[in-house]
Symmetry: C2
């Protein structure tokens, strides 16, 4: 017990510990000293793996973006890459925020300096936003979604689900009933809002 810790993957353990602390006590309660203490290492051990506290938060955000991307992609493809898949993506986005509020707050809460928030890249297939743009283009080709610029439509769709997600995790809605109800209504109103007008 007195020899040095040999974590198989100390950086990974530190990220997990950080998420756990944020989950339980809030972002303001996250301290590097606390992370080290709970992991049984010195309070400066973290600097061997991260440049500073912000770098640790960036790792949390990066993990969140990976998880979000995976779930959105899964929803879109297993939903049949059509109208149903699109609705599933919307629900999956909000679900992700509700299931992983700590990650979500770090990703979008503005506490990061030099954020890793992937800037909208319509051609990127590896990021969540790219998946959204591709989905919208597919729906436009199918004549389901109106012919606005896909990039702008994607920003709008993002804004809608992001807004619902923030309300859901900020305690404005009484979970879980209100969250489910608003999610359902939001996905439906979103669809009506961007659907193609009836063909002349």
């Amino acid at each position: 017990m007195k020899v040095s810790y040999h974590h198989g993957d100390l950086p990974r353990a530190m990220v997990r510990q950080a998420v756990q602390i944020i989950q339980r006590d809030g972002l303001h309660a996250l301290t590097l000293r606390g992370v080290g203490e709970q992991l049984g290492v010195s309070r400066t051990a973290l600097y061997r793996h991260f440049t500073d506290k912000n770098d640790l938060l960036k790792a949390v955000a990066a993990e969140g973006f990976r998880m979000l991307q995976a779930e959105l992609h899964e929803a879109w493809t297993s939903g049949g890459e059509g109208r149903l898949g699109f609705a599933a993506m919307g629900r999956a986005y909000i679900q992700f925020a509700v299931n992983h509020p700590s990650h979500y707050r770090v990703m979008f809460g503005g506490s990061l300096r030099g954020s890793d928030m992937p800037t909208p890249d319509p051609d990127g297939t590896g990021d969540a936003f790219g998946t959204l743009v591709h989905a919208l283009e597919a729906l436009q080709r199918a004549g389901v979604v109106r012919d606005d610029p896909p990039m702008q439509l994607a920003l709008y769709v993002w804004a809608v689900v992001h807004g619902v997600a923030m309300l859901a995790i900020d305690g404005v809605l009484k979970p879980p009933a209100d969250i489910v109800a608003l999610t359902t209504l939001a996905i439906e109103r979103l669809r009506t809002g961007i659907e193609a007008p009836p063909a002349g």
Copy 2:
């Protein structure tokens, strides 16, 4: 210069100073010591007027909610309390966030403990959310907006403009062109999304 400062309204000056610091250097750069120093008072003078740092932030948020409510009410009434006024409210909301990002982040950034964020009160005429609910009810009576529960519709509308506002102030959009474009598209798609279906 050595006698005690006699501010006409020290609490107000402190709130203004806090907003200015957040505006220039970010929320993380706000320190009570900095506020005191810039105002020429001791670093503990603040405790005569606020219970702690969180209380100062609550005052910033409260000021923001007052300003937002005023601008939304103005947009709704001077827009004729109809479809045009509703669109004006949406634009005013996003404009407020863009014009006062410091206030907006404190109001909704989750940095407050025991937030003063007014919980949705459909009957409250003094808060922004109440104004929104009343506006939606008026539009429903006019047959312009679909007959969903006003409370739920209001949450949806709030989510949409809140989402756009967050994207706008978080640097995702290139100001000002992208912000104007997305705002215009969002208000239009929002309208289509909640409008009443054509009468049979």
